[in-house]
Amino acid sequence: MALDPREVQQLLANAQIKLTGASESGIKAELYDVLKEFFSDSNCWTEDISFLPVAGVTEYTLAPAQDGQIIRLIGAWDDRGTPKTDAFMRVFGTVTFVNAPQSDATANWTARVVKTVSLPITREALPIAPDWTLRVYSVHVLDGILGKMMGQQQKSYSNTQMSAYHLKRFRTGIQIAKVAAERANLIGAQNWTYPRGWSSRSQRGGVSTAYPTRFM
C-alpha cells in the first residue's frame, strides 16, 4: 500500500508552483503531518482485523495486515456478525472486552479500526498511506500542505492570510472525508441505525427508506 507515484509527483509540482522557494524535502515532511491530521480527524482509513477469542481472555493485540498506526476502534463483531458492545481500546492496537468470552471461539471475530500514517516512511521520504488518498483527496491534501507551509515564519512563501485560507479549506476537506467514510461513500446514506432490538430486517410493518443501513 503506497501513495500513487503519479499523484505524488503532481502534488509536489503543484505545491512548488504555489510555494516559491519551497524545497521538495520540506514539502514531503509537511505531507506527513498533513496526512496524519487528515486520517486522524476524518477516520477515513479503516481496516478490518480478525482475531480468535479465547475463553477467559479480555485483551487482544491487533496486528494490521497493512501499514499504518491503529488509533481508534470503530467496533467489534463476533463470527456471526453480532456487534460486541463491550469492546473498547484503551491501549492503541489492543481491543479489550469488559466480559471475557465464555468459551473458545470457533471462528475469527472482527475488529474494525481507524488508522493513520506512522513511521517508517518510504525510501523517497514519503508517508505510507492508501493509494486512494491522493486520487480522491489530493485537493484537500494540497490545501493542508499550502496552509502549513505558508504558516512557517521567515520563508519566501510565508503568508499568514493565505495560510488561514488554505487551512480552512483543509479542515473542510477533512469533514468531507469524515462524512463520506461514515456513509461508506454512499450518497444519501444515513450514518445511524436503530439498535438491534428495535430494528427490523424486513420491510413489513414499518417504513422503508432507500438507504436504511449504516455501515459500521
Partner: protein, 145 residues
C-alpha cells in the same frame, strides 16, 4: 571540461572560481580554503533552511575535505545561493575595500536567496572612490537607509 552546473563539489568550486576570477593556476584561493567555505556555507544554510537538508529521518549536513565528484545533496534551486555563500566567505579574507563590499553582497545574496528576501543589488561596479565609497541603496545590507 563541461561548464559548471553546481551539482557536484568539483562543479561548485569551479563555479566559485569563476565568480572570484581565479581560474588560472596558481590559484589565489586554495582548494582547501574554498572547501572550507563550502562547509561553512552548508552549515549556515542548515541554520537558515534546515528543510533543504532533510533526509529520511532527520537532518544531515554534508561536510567535505577535498574536491571530488561527490554530488551535493542540495536541490537545484538552492545551488546558486551556496555558490554565492562560498564566494562571499572566500572574499572575506581579502583586505581590499572592494572585496569587502563584494563579500558583503555575496553573503547577503546567499542569505536572501535562501529565506526569500529581495536580492541585494550591487551599488555600482569598479573600484570605490571617495565619492561613492560607503554609499548603499535602501534595503541593502549595511545600508544607511
Amino acid at each position: 571540461m563541461p561548464p559548471p552546473n553546481l551539482m557536484t563539489v568539483d562543479s561548485m568550486i569551479r563555479g566559485v572560481r569563476t565568480l572570484l576570477l581565479d581560474k588560472v593556476r596558481p590559484y589565489r584561493y586554495s582548494d582547501t580554503s574554498l572547501i572550507a567555505g563550502l562547509n561553512i556555507a552548508l552549515n549556515e544554510g542548515r541554520r537558515l533552511r534546515p528543510d533543504v537538508f532533510l533526509v529520511r529521518y532527520g537532518i544531515e549536513v554534508p561536510q567535505y575535505e577535498q574536491i571530488s565528484g561527490a554530488i551535493l545533496p542540495v536541490e537545484a534551486q538552492f545551488r546558486l545561493a551556496f555558490e554565492y555563500g562560498i564566494a562571499g566567505h572566500a572574499l572575506m579574507r581579502d583586505q581590499e575595500d572592494i572585496q569587502d563590499q563584494r563579500s558583503t553582497i555575496f553573503l547577503a545574496n546567499f542569505e536572501n536567496m535562501l529565506v526569500g528576501r529581495r536580492p541585494v543589488i550591487p551599488l555600482e561596479g569598479g573600484t570605490p572612490t571617495p565619492k561613492n565609497k560607503g554609499r548603499t541603496q535602501p534595503g541593502q545590507a549595511g545600508g544607511e537607509g
